[in-house]
């Protein structure tokens, strides 16, 4: 059967300033095919799609639909040409039902009948094999259901060309395969589907052809059947990239943090963390998997002292056994108390007692580093504020999900951002900017941060560079525990692999690493163990070396599934 062209781009160019976002891009989309657009961040994928969807207007070039030139000035024009785009961020009214959202903004002759709409929606659901109850309110929906509403909304308006912008980023593996089934049915129905993604395995699984963009240029379009991951990456990045995360065996993994029966409620009384019990070990990467919003963020925030748990314990094991006692974070009084409890021994394993000694002699003895801890220190972290934890000498690094909203201050420069962790150091009321500046310059060099200099506000940096600044600072803090929530979100391949390498280096140094991730492939490749969460509960901990994506995916949705079945 001869394939018919649905959409053609001819020499489409878009300048942003002196920069080409898209340069002379030609693109053909046929009816009844799935075309994947592949490219790194900033390669112009989204700009190109926005031009088709009427959000931008091309500076040069033509867009042809069904062979005729089309002028698309607005999303409405795009709709009139049968083009619909499903954005990453959903635009739905929470209080409305699926059907009400779908019909919203359409203009129809005659009386508005919700029943007729429901029937029409049900017909679309039936035809393409969606799972959706048209009468369900949006606020009751999972992310996947909301996405379904967005897709049906576009189909309901009669779109023949659908553009999906990174639709799988928020879905579980099971939901992804359901989405792909739907996409295949739409394809059979003669629709053209353009999917933007940077996940190579998905490209290979679902698409018929792949268009690769790099720095705004159209590099190539290949048939999916005739290509593989390595070739695609090479075209995307411009050179060969090793896609393997090197994972070493944990060396001497000992418990570092015990979490036991942890329960956390939000200020509105919502049960966010439910009976979590697990151990974090040194020299090991513990992954945390789960659908976004299952309590991963709150878990890390509770460990660093930002939330007060209702019940449960968090215990930190400070590896001090046979290490010299210092006054670094302890007063003389505290040292004497500990000595009275027989907590120290000397180099010859004899018990240390300060009984009857003058303070000056005790100081001298301790400073000679001949007084050693008998056991590891056991410290209760629960109900301590971040400041108290620091004052105990416990270094917990935390790379939060919201980099500029929590980890860094956007309007400050690199130096002042380095200072966030260390500004209290030193006596006196004045700030010492010298050391933070040296640290900023070192991070700029070591992690090759792309910025005009350490005194540029970091708000002006790209996402990957902002993340390097944050991760660099947290590593420079020489932590015992390193926690990172979604550290590669929004980063390109090169930066992502750099972050994975940094996490691995931390692990090899014997630091306990906790990694909250969304890409299951990465979790399976990078971590040693994976803790799976679902709606605040722990559904299990699996060995990342032996488990499968499907197993983790099932665990992520276990309870959700059960309740789903109950409804049916």
């Amino acid at each position: 059967m001869e394939k018919q062209l649905a959409l053609q781009l001819r020499g489409v160019t878009k300048h942003f300033g002196n920069k080409h976002a898209n340069n002379q891009v030609d693109l053909d989309v046929y009816k009844g095919e799935i075309l994947a657009i592949l490219g790194e961040n900033g390669s112009g994928k989204t700009t190109l799609m926005n031009m088709i969807a009427g959000i931008y207007y091309p500076d040069e070039g033509q867009i042809l639909i069904d062979g005729k030139e089309a002028v698309i000035r607005s999303p409405k024009d795009a709709f009139d040409h049968g083009i619909g785009m499903i954005h990453q961020h959903f635009k739905l009214v929470d209080l409305f039902t699926a059907a009400e959202n779908i019909v919203l903004g359409t203009r129809q002759e005659g009386r508005y009948s919700l029943r007729a709409v429901n029937a029409e929606v049900a017909e679309i659901v039936e035809r393409y094999g969606f799972h959706l109850d048209p009468a369900k309110k949006v606020y009751d929906m999972s992310v996947s259901e909301k996405q379904t509403v967005e897709i049906i909304k576009v189909l309901y308006r009669g779109a023949d060309i659908l553009i999906l912008d990174e639709p799988t980023a928020v879905l579980t593996p099971q939901e992804i395969s359901r989405l792909f089934d739907v996409m295949r049915r739409m394809k059979e129905d003669g629709k053209s589907i353009i999917i933007i993604t940077h996940k190579l395995n998905e490209v290979l699984e679902v698409s018929d052809r792949v268009t690769i963009l790099r720095k705004g240029d159209h590099v190539a379009t290949v048939n999916t059947r005739e290509t593989d991951e390595n070739q695609l990456t090479e075209m995307m990045v411009g050179r060969k990239v090793s896609l393997n995360i090197r994972r070493s065996e944990p060396v001497n993994a000992v418990p570092r943090i015990y979490v036991k029966d942890l329960n956390l409620y939000s200020s509105e009384g919502i049960h966010i963390l439910k009976d979590l019990t697990f151990t974090v070990r040194s020299g090991e990467i513990l992954g945390i998997a789960g659908i976004a919003g299952s309590g991963q963020r709150e878990l890390l925030e509770t460990i660093v002292g930002l939330h007060k748990p209702a019940t449960g314990t968090i215990t930190f094991i400070n590896p001090k056994k046979d290490k010299p006692v210092t006054f670094f974070h302890k007063s003389l009084k505290r040292v004497k108390e500990l000595a009275a409890q027989d907590a120290f021994h000397d180099r010859n394993m004899n018990p240390v007692s300060f009984q009857g000694m003058r303070n000056r002699d005790i100081l001298k003895w301790v400073q000679s580093e001949d007084v050693l801890f008998r056991e590891d220190e056991v410290i209760d972290l629960r109900d301590r504020t971040p400041l108290e934890i620091r004052q105990l000498g416990i270094r917990l690094s935390f790379v939060p999900e919201d980099r500029l909203g929590m980890g860094l201050v956007g309007s400050m420069d690199m130096t002042d951002n380095m200072m966030l962790r260390s500004y209290r150091k030193g006596h006196g009321i004045f700030l010492d900017r010298k050391k933070p500046q040296e640290l900023a310059e070192q991070i700029l060099r070591d992690l090759s941060v792309d910025t005009p200099g350490v005194s540029t506000p970091i708000r002006k940096l790209s996402g990957g560079n902002v993340q390097k600044v944050l991760v660099g600072r947290e590593i420079a803090f020489t932590p015992k525990v390193f926690m990172a929530a979604y550290p590669v979100r929004g980063l390109d391949i090169k930066s992502s692999y750099m972050i994975y390498d940094l996490l691995n280096q931390q692990k090899e140094k014997g630091i306990a690493v906790i990694f909250v991730g969304e890409d299951l492939d990465v979790l399976l490749e990078l971590c040693d163990r994976i803790l799976v969460m679902n709606a605040g509960s722990m559904t299990g901990i699996v060995d990342a070396r032996t488990t499968t994506k499907e197993e983790v995916g099932l665990m992520m949705t276990r309870t959700a599934r059960r309740s789903g079945e109950a409804e049916e």
């Binding site: 300048h15 942003f16 971040p386 201050v409 002042d416």
Partner: protein, 381 residues
């Protein structure tokens, strides 16, 4: 052909984009241009409104000269100008630490007024009964404490119950005004509610009548600049202002910083109140602060919350005020015209900040494509 057709319907008439960075020269160029344009607009309005100017257009030169005359023609006017700048600057400085923390304290008026009241109360009850130096110290303490109390109450409510500080500080202004009215009724038995100048508790003078006040404010300006930019407290204020979540993340006790900073803010208002009470007025009325608590908000904001820049903005605002009064005197127009003129000037000066922060790209201009560029740039390089 086709391309030509689409050209006509391409993009909107103009785009607005946020500037990612502007050179100081360019920014000050825009501000200077706004000042000149504002002056031209004032001339035009004056021409339409002042009969004498219409009859004799040649006097337009005198109209502009009046601005300069208002502040600089005699040494008396010049000293008055400097004194007024100092008091306005002092109140603006007091508000600045709170603003840098994004705590929208619009209660500078009330905080300063209760400080004047506190100082005068001490003067009223103890004046003449205790040594002069002790009286001055007690007045000073009373002013600082009253200002700090007035400042910390909204901060405590915000910290404990999350109340809105803008409404709260605004309402505290009214409480301060009526408190003054109340004490005037109590203190002035004849019912005129006009407290005569007190004979005691006057700040000593050095050189000129106003020199001491000016020097005190100058020292305060430099001190506050150092406090905000080079101390740990100042750093904490900036972090809390930028992101409360980041502050919590690094272990800053946000409520403590808010309360501490509002005590400081209130105490600096107290200093301004003390300078007004002991250095200038020697009495208190409901108009002792005369709206400078509100003008100070603008001075602080225009100065980008930087104490050093605020010297300029306070000077500018005062220059306009005195110039406008001079015009009403010279052209024998009373009432609203000076306010109209300062209003026009401030409209231009504040309005131009929009053009400092945003760029306009007209359709067809060569650079119009940059518009979308900068829109999309933000994070993506």
């Amino acid at each position: 052909m086709n391309r030509r057709q689409t050209e006509e319907v391409r993009e909107p008439l103009f785009h607005l984009t946020r500037r990612m960075g502007i050179s100081p020269v360019k920014a000050w160029g825009i501000r200077a241009a706004a000042f000149v344009l504002g002056m031209l607009a004032c001339g035009l309005i004056a021409f339409l409104l002042i009969e004498r100017l219409r009859e004799n257009p040649g006097r337009i030169g005198a109209f502009y000269y009046a601005f300069i005359k208002g502040s600089f023609s005699t040494s008396y006017k010049f000293w008055k100008f400097l004194k007024n700048v100092a008091i306005l600057l002092c109140i603006s400085l007091a508000l600045t630490p709170a603003f840098r923390m994004r705590f929208w304290n619009i209660g500078g008026e009330g905080q300063t007024l209760v400080s004047v009241l506190g100082a005068i109360a001490v003067d009223f009850y103890f004046g003449g009964r205790i040594p002069e130096w002790l009286l001055l110290i007690l007045m000073f303490a009373a002013a600082l404490v009253s200002g700090a109390v007035w400042g910390v109450i909204p901060a405590l409510f915000r910290a404990k119950w999350g109340t809105n500080e803008t409404l709260f500080t605004l309402m505290m202004n009214y409480v301060a005004t009526y408190l003054v009215s109340f004490f005037l009724v109590v203190w002035v038995p004849n019912g005129s509610s006009s407290l005569p100048r007190q004979q005691h508790g006057r700040l000593p003078t050095i050189g000129n009548d106003y020199l001491l006040i000016i020097l005190i404010v100058l020292v305060l300006t430099i001190g506050l600049y150092i406090y905000l930019y080079y101390t740990k407290h100042g750093y904490e204020i900036s972090v809390v202002g930028e992101s409360v979540r980041t502050a919590q993340y690094v272990g800053i006790k946000v409520n403590r910083v808010i309360i501490r900073t509002m005590i400081l803010s209130g105490m600096l208002c107290g200093l301004a109140g003390y300078l007004i009470a002991a250095g200038l007025d020697q009495t208190v009325t409901t108009e002792s602060v005369g709206g400078q608590g509100f003008t100070g908000i603008m001075v602080s904001w225009l100065g980008g919350f930087n104490p050093l820049t605020m010297i300029l903005t306070a000077g500018l605002v005062q220059f306009l005020n005195q110039g406008a009064s001079q015009i009403s005197q010279d052209f024998d127009v009373s009432g609203a015209l000076p306010n109209v003129i300062t209003g026009i000037m401030l409209f231009f000066i504040i309005g131009c900040e929009f053009f400092v922060n945003y760029k306009i790209h007209f359709r067809g201009s060569k650079k119009h494509a940059e518009a979308a560029a900068e829109m999309g740039r933000g994070i993506g390089k």
